[in-house]
């Protein structure tokens, strides 16, 4: 009821009737989905899209991970992972970016925990990696685990009494969890002058724990303290040198003394800080950012000593190495062009909040982006002439340090950004699912093509043509007879401006801003989602014909047919998924009530319609009791033909 209450309080007047299924395992999914899309629902433009994902699927199973406990994940080593959560009975394997670990069959299936075993490839670098558990017809949301290079992992509850800590080796990983109001205490035996590094990994694993580390001597006196180490997303790292031989106590707790099953930690004792680079590189690659980067070279604090770049340079990397540091790059262009420079900092784990400034050789500022922009700064500027320009990179608050790294993407001629709030998509049997993709064009207004790639066998998707004024596109995935009844597969959504332009992956951007620590997910750069077979649909829609041709001034009727299952016999309201204002110029799509098996829906091309090839995204909405189901019609291609040509052709 807490979620329901929260939703009722925050829906800002949007009325969404909810199924009353308190004991249905899918009600949890539904509620979570509502929470997930809560803010998105507040945007009228997106309302229709959201409902697409609210379809309760009678046979889909959505496992939930609360915590992943790893045996000792090390490159080249055997791996055992235990997932603790809910609805885990039908789990088959654990998906990791570098491998899949099969489940270890249990004598007695347990819905709350499962084990996986396998091997971590030798080539995997220590770091934090995405993980999901897969069932026959479901997939969990992202979770995170650590591949580490410390010699052993200890999974223990740990002492909750400071005078009697749980003694652990000085080089190990401790996995555990914090209870409310009760810190955990671990003892480490050290020699005089021995230095110890301790790193709490929690926030980076989406743990609800906001970790605080303390080092205590035997009498309880504090010798070290750390909270929120820059660059660790709220986690803590502490270095300590023992003044004399003895057992020293490491205290780990939540800064607010909260606790619970979601307050888990991966405590690294000894060794150096967990390298962020591996995680960052995985994220950059997933986001399609693979071009070589120009590394800044110091000194480059003024325009007389800039870091040189090539006209072909697409990435610049560096760090604000100390407070007040300024990095200047010389950028060259051979012709006037639109330049977009996008900083990646926070989503790569860097605490830097950049200020970017582009100026010409005379020192005139063309544009600067700082506090008025988003967290990751972005410059979009029309460079007026060929020549050399200087890009100045500063930290907004004049902070700096080794953790203050950045990665800058340079795009000449405009930039295309596509994103989605969808992390997993269920494709019903003999039906279609729709994924909403937000489109942002910077420095250009070209039409785009958005499509899904890496699809499972038997799943098809028609590329969507996104007209210049369109901000949201709907990519539909259709499960054909050739598809397996069950599958789970990572897929990608891609966009491009023309056939020879590079494809841009859609990045995952959760719609919900954090409202509490427990609900908080740190921003990450990640692309890709999972598609899985979602079982039988309540209804599915098809259009006849599936490709249209229309002349300006003409109206044609499109026949929409519904295939219904079970009791889903109610009226289906048919309409365009794309708002009327974002349809191709001159095209309008009517509405219709699909009462039984089929209905016709009018599509009009005004005299002003511009000849060309377009996409139509239609959807049907069915309401039954308190449930609302939205299903897409697979993407239709409509061609507005030139009147004269058609006549000539006739």
């Amino acid at each position: 009821m807490k979620f329901l209450d929260a939703f009722a309080m925050n829906s800002s007047g949007i009325s969404l009737e909810m199924p009353s299924l308190p004991n249905d395992p899918h009600s949890t999914k539904l509620l979570r989905a509502i929470m997930h899309y809560r803010h998105f629902l507040q945007s009228a433009a997106c309302c229709v899209l959201v409902l697409t994902s609210l379809v309760p699927n009678a046979s889909a199973q959505t496992p939930t991970i609360d915590q992943l406990l790893t045996s000792h994940l090390t490159p080249g080593g055997n791996a055992e992972v235990r997932a603790v959560g809910k609805d885990l009975k039908d789990v088959e394997r654990l998906w990791l970016p570098f491998t899949e670990l099969p489940i270890v069959p249990a004598e007695k299936p347990d819905e709350k925990q499962v084990r996986f075993q396998g091997t971590v490839p030798e080539s995997v670098q220590p770091g934090i990696y995405e993980a999901r558990v897969l069932t026959k017809r479901g997939i969990s949301a992202r979770h995170w685990l650590v591949v580490d290079n410390l010699p052993q992992t200890i999974t223990t509850a740990g002492s909750e009494a400071q005078p009697s800590p749980t003694v652990v080796p000085a080089d190990c990983i401790v996995q555990g969890q914090i209870n409310a109001r009760k810190p955990r205490f671990f003892g480490v035996e050290l020699k005089a002058q021995q230095t110890l590094q301790i790193e709490a990994v929690a926030r980076r694993l989406n743990s609800a724990l906001d970790p605080v580390l303390r080092i205590l001597q035997a009498d309880g006196k504090e010798l070290g303290f750390e909270d929120d180490t820059p660059g660790l997303a709220g986690d803590a790292w502490l270095q300590f040198t023992a003044p004399q031989d003895g057992i020293y106590t490491i205290e780990i707790r939540d800064v607010q003394y909260t606790g619970g099953s979601r307050h888990f930690f991966h405590l690294r004792i000894g060794g150096s800080k967990l390298p962020a680079s591996a995680t960052q590189n995985v994220a950059l690659a997933a986001a399609g950012i693979t071009s070589p980067a120009v590394m800044e070279t110091e000194p480059n604090n003024d325009t007389s000593q800039p870091t040189a770049t090539e006209t072909t340079s697409q990435r610049l990397s560096g760090a604000i190495q100390q407070p007040g540091d300024i990095d200047i790059f010389a950028i060259h262009t051979q012709a006037p062009a639109h330049l977009c420079i996008t900083a990646l900092t926070r989503r790569l784990g860097s605490p830097a909040d950049l200020v970017l400034q582009l100026s010409d050789e005379a020192g005139k500022t063309l544009q600067s982006a700082d506090e008025a922009g988003s967290y990751d700064a972005q410059l979009a500027v029309a460079v007026p002439a060929a020549g050399t320009y200087f890009l100045t990179v500063k930290e907004l608050s004049s902070l700096g340090g080794p953790a203050f790294t950045y990665d800058l993407q340079l795009q000449w001629g405009g930039r295309t950004e596509v994103s989605t709030t969808v992390d997993t998509v269920a494709i019903p049997d003999a039906g279609a699912a729709s994924i909403a993709v937000a489109v942002n064009r910077i420095g250009h207004s070209d039409p785009l093509e958005v499509w899904a790639s890496d699809l499972p066998p038997g799943v098809v998707s028609t590329p969507v043509i996104v007209v210049p004024n369109q901000k949201t596109a709907f990519v539909t995935l259709l499960k054909t007879d050739q598809a397996s009844s069950t599958f789970q597969k990572p897929i990608q959504l891609l966009a491009r401006r023309s056939a020879d332009a590079p494809a841009v992956p859609a990045v995952y951007q959760p719609a919900v801003k954090p409202v509490t620590d427990a609900a908080y997910e740190i921003p990450r750069l990640s692309a890709g989602m999972f598609a899985y077979g979602g079982g039988a649909a309540e209804f599915s829609l098809t259009a006849t014909p599936d490709a249209l041709s229309i002349k300006p001034g003409e109206e044609i009727q499109l026949t929409i047919s519904a295939t219904r299952t079970g009791e889903w016999t109610q009226v289906i309201e048919m309409a365009s998924a794309v708002p009327a204002a974002e349809l191709p110029t001159g095209l309008t799509v009517g509405t219709a009530k699909l009462e039984k098996d089929s209905v016709q829906i009018p599509v009009k091309a005004a005299a002003s319609a511009v000849p060309g090839r377009y996409s139509l995204s239609l959807q049907g909405t069915l309401k039954k009791d308190k449930t609302t189901i939205v299903r897409p019609v697979p993407t239709l291609i409509i061609e507005v033909t030139d009147v004269e040509k058609t006549v000539a052709g006739d």
Partner: protein
């Protein structure tokens, strides 16, 4: 029947005679005229005189009303009722005579035939202020009174000029027949006036207003000299026994270099009417024994004089403590001056309890009490101070004080933010970060409030207005709030000062941080503050120094913080030294500790100077200053008073008793009973002083004045006693439940088989850091013996100890 005039004359003769008789014991061996040189320009000028007898000795007295003063050349100047008036151009000498002693002053008169016009900005406004017309309760209120609105104490002359000259078709004045002007008739009560009689015909204020109307209510000609400052004379005087009055004068220093007597148009106030009253004609009279500050206000300028009235006390026998130096020297000099005998040194047990509570907020443990009482070390007190200062308990307690003032509450800083900020404050105190660095760091903080908790200063303070008032009160000890809407009515601070400070804080940017619950503070490079009255774009203003230009790219806060924390800053070190002193002494040298103003002077300026210099010399170390204070004889004086200091509340002749703060008291009850309090969201055993946030709905803490941390004012922590407190202690669940708890200390002692006397002894040691006196022990034992329920009787004893003043109070 005598006519009123005759009656007045008779009264004057009688008064004069009584005066002469009453002061027969006053002998003048030397006379002095103030000012010694007098320059009168124009026919309307004048000079009030102060005739001082024996100016350089303890026998000094004001002879202004006794000495006869005569002019050597009455064609140049005459003297009437102690005031010199011009007659003709030239130079002459005036001579004052008393008891055969004489003294002279030179008088120069120029332009005596010229009647200068009344100047609105310097005379009319001053007259309106002196008459009280434009005070807040009258026409100076925002909505005025009776349809007539003036700016508060004349802070907006242009508005007043417009109102007086033009409003309602100029119905308030009659230039052709000035005496018919409402502006005069109302305050003379010739017609009904809600404000009563404010003017007397013929007095200077009336003359100024009437002359101004007569002259056509003109504005001042271009180039008219403006007032720069005023000075009150004498600035300081100590008057003994039969010296019961003091004439004062006020000199105005103008932009053309002239110095004029503005006494007649100056308004006066006394800081303590029970000691000294001051009349409209600038005579201070003794009302009681002690020191008072006389505040003179002329236009928007202030000046003060310290007047002390002393009477010899019987049995006063000054026994100066041996080798008094530093703090003690300053305190005892003052006490000797005021004939106040300091108390004896406090006992060791009192000292242990006092020092432990002051530095750590907790009671001494039984072990500490036993060890301290058994110590034979001559330096045991200073050793205790050092030990306490180096403890984490000190950091816990003193970070609480800063958390209160810096508004560390979850409503402002979020639930995790308060933890992070409090921890940062703990480190500041524990590491004894110099307080100038601490202030500088707070004022210039930027970045994530989680990574850099000092930035929470700017999260708690949401705009430049709040930041201005908070910073002024916290680090300057100045309550500058009044100057937001108008020049400060009782102080020198103007709207320009207020908005000039605000200009330093205007460019603070805030945006959501990317860590949960965090905020990002940064410096913007645009944005200006406008003075609302003048519309002027304000530069950064440093008090008493003026406006400064700050380069566009520079953080303006840094300029302000550099000025604030410099050794030369006249406010910062002084206010913090006073604040620290106030926390351990129970009262500031300036009290309230964050209310420095000319009209609220330090009770012992030399002491405050010493503390300030010691604080600076000690590198702004709070620990250093605390160590210095607590090692002083003054700190270690008993709270028991003697006949010669029983009425002293300001000069530190004895320790100031005060009730334990809410957190101290609750922790003390928990310590004595051995039953910890439970707080939502905090680990078991958490003490009240460690709470990062005032807990919601905790009745006990609320009743005893725990602040909600919404203000940067020490006053938010209530120290008032009230009935609810008594009910909590006598009958409240906190005290009762803890005493009765079977897990508590008392019942453990019973279970351990301790005797009655052992338990009573432990109770006293735990609660009061001392053993019970025989009579106390006997009384307790008798009570226990008389009760059928031993445990209940012991609970009664514990209840009585907890409800004793000795337990409840810091002493």
């Amino acid at each position: 029947m005598k006519s009123p005039i005759n009656r007045l004359l008779s009264a004057w003769i009688l008064f004069a005679a009584v005066g002469l008789t009453a002061r027969a014991d006053q002998t003048a061996s030397e006379l002095q005229i103030t000012p010694p040189e007098i320059r009168l320009i124009g026919s309307t000028s004048s000079q009030q005189l102060v005739i001082t007898a024996n100016p350089a000795s303890d026998g000094v007295f004001d002879a202004s009303d006794q000495a006869s003063v005569e002019s050597a050349d009455t064609t140049v100047a005459v003297v009437r009722s102690g005031i010199v008036y011009p007659v003709g151009d030239g130079t002459t000498t005036i001579t004052a005579t008393l008891n055969g002693q004489t003294t002279t002053a030179q008088v120069t008169v120029a332009d005596s035939a010229t009647k200068p016009p009344v100047i609105f900005h310097t005379e009319v406004l001053a007259a309106l202020t002196k008459a009280g017309c434009n005070m807040g309760a009258c026409h100076g209120s925002p909505s005025g009174k009776g349809g007539f609105r003036l700016s508060l104490r004349g802070y907006d002359p242009e508005l007043d000029l417009l109102t007086l000259r033009g409003e309602f078709f100029n119905r308030r004045s009659n230039v052709l027949n000035p005496d018919e002007s409402l502006l005069l008739r109302k305050p003379l009560m010739e017609v009904a006036h809600g404000g009563g009689k404010r003017l007397q015909t013929g007095e200077p204020t009336w003359s100024v207003l009437r002359d101004w109307i007569t002259e056509g209510m003109r504005t001042a000609p271009e180039g008219t000299a403006t007032l720069e400052r005023i000075k009150i004379l004498p600035e300081q005087r100590t008057l003994r026994n039969s010296a019961t009055r003091q004439q004062i004068i006020v000199q105005g220093f103008f932009s053309d270099g002239s110095v004029r007597d503005v006494t007649a148009l100056t308004a006066f106030d006394s800081s303590d009417e029970a000691i000294a009253s001051v009349s409209d004609n600038a005579v201070v009279r003794r009302e009681g024994r002690g020191e008072a500050t006389i505040l003179a206000r002329y236009l928007d300028r202030m000046s003060t004089a310290q007047i002390t009235f002393l009477t010899d006390r019987e049995n006063y026998d000054w026994q100066p403590p041996a080798d008094a130096q530093g703090i003690d020297l300053q305190v005892f000099n003052k006490l000797h001056q005021l004939q106040i005998q300091p108390s004896e040194l406090c006992s060791d047990s009192d000292f242990l309890r006092r020092a432990t509570l002051d530095l750590t907020g907790r009671l001494p443990t039984t072990q500490e009490a036993i060890e301290f009482s058994g110590s034979t070390s001559e330096s045991r007190r200073s050793e205790l101070i050092d030990r306490l200062l180096s403890s984490e308990d000190y950091a816990r307690f003193w970070s609480l004080k800063w958390a209160d003032l810096l508004r560390c509450n979850s409503r402002r800083l979020t639930s995790s933010g308060v933890h992070k900020f409090r921890r940062w404050l703990f480190d500041v105190v524990r590491n004894d970060k110099p307080l100038n660095e601490f202030a500088h760091e707070l004022l210039t903080a930027q970045g994530s409030t989680h990574h850099n908790p000092a930035a929470n200063y700017w999260r708690a303070s949401r705009d430049e207005i709040d930041a201005t008032e908070t910073t002024a009160q916290l680090f300057l000890g100045i309550r500058i709030q009044c100057a937001k809407c108008h020049n400060h009515p009782f102080e020198k601070w103007t709207q320009d000062d207020y908005y000039g400070i605000a200009a330093a804080f205007h460019r603070v940017g805030r945006k959501p941080g990317w860590l949960a619950n965090s905020e990002h503070i940064f410096v913007k490079h645009t944005g200006e503050v406008k003075q609302p009255r003048t519309g002027e774009t304000m530069k950064v203003r440093l008090l008493l120094q003026g406006s400064v230009d700050v380069p566009a790219e520079q953080d303006r806060r840094t300029v302000f913080a550099d000025w604030l924390t410099a050794d030369s800053n006249p406010f910062f070190a002084r206010s913090l030294a006073n604040r620290i002193w106030g926390h351990v002494m129970g009262r500031g040298v300036v009290e309230p500790v964050d209310d420095f103003r000319d009209s609220n002077p330090p009770s012992n300026p030399e002491l405050l100077d010493f503390l300030t210099q010691e604080f600076i010399a000690g590198g702004y170390s709070a620990k250093h200053l605390l160590r210095t204070i607590m090692n002083s004889h003054t700190y270690q004086l008993s709270s028991e008073r003697n006949d010669l200091n029983s009425d002293d509340e300001a000069y530190f002749s004895h320790a100031t008793t005060r009730m334990l703060t809410a957190e101290q008291l609750l922790d003390a009850i928990c310590d004595v009973t051995g039953v910890p309090e439970s707080y939502a969201g905090m680990p078991a055993g958490t003490k009240a002083i460690d709470l990062v946030n005032p807990p919601e709905g905790h009745k006990f803490l609320q009743v005893f004045g725990q602040p909600q941390r919404e203000m940067a004012c020490e006053c938010e922590r209530s120290s008032d006693s009230n009935l609810s407190q008594a009910l909590q202690l006598i009958n409240g669940p906190v005290v009762h439940d803890k005493i009765r708890s079977k897990d508590g200390r008392l019942h453990r002692w019973i279970a351990e088989g301790k005797t009655d006397s052992e338990i009573v002894g432990l109770l006293y040691l735990t609660a009061l850091s001392r053993a019970p006196m025989p009579v106390e022990l006997q009384t307790a034992e008798q009570h226990i013996a008389a009760q059928p329920d031993r445990a209940g009787a012991l609970e009664d004893v514990a209840w009585a100890v907890i409800n004793s003043k000795e337990f409840l109070f810091q002493h």
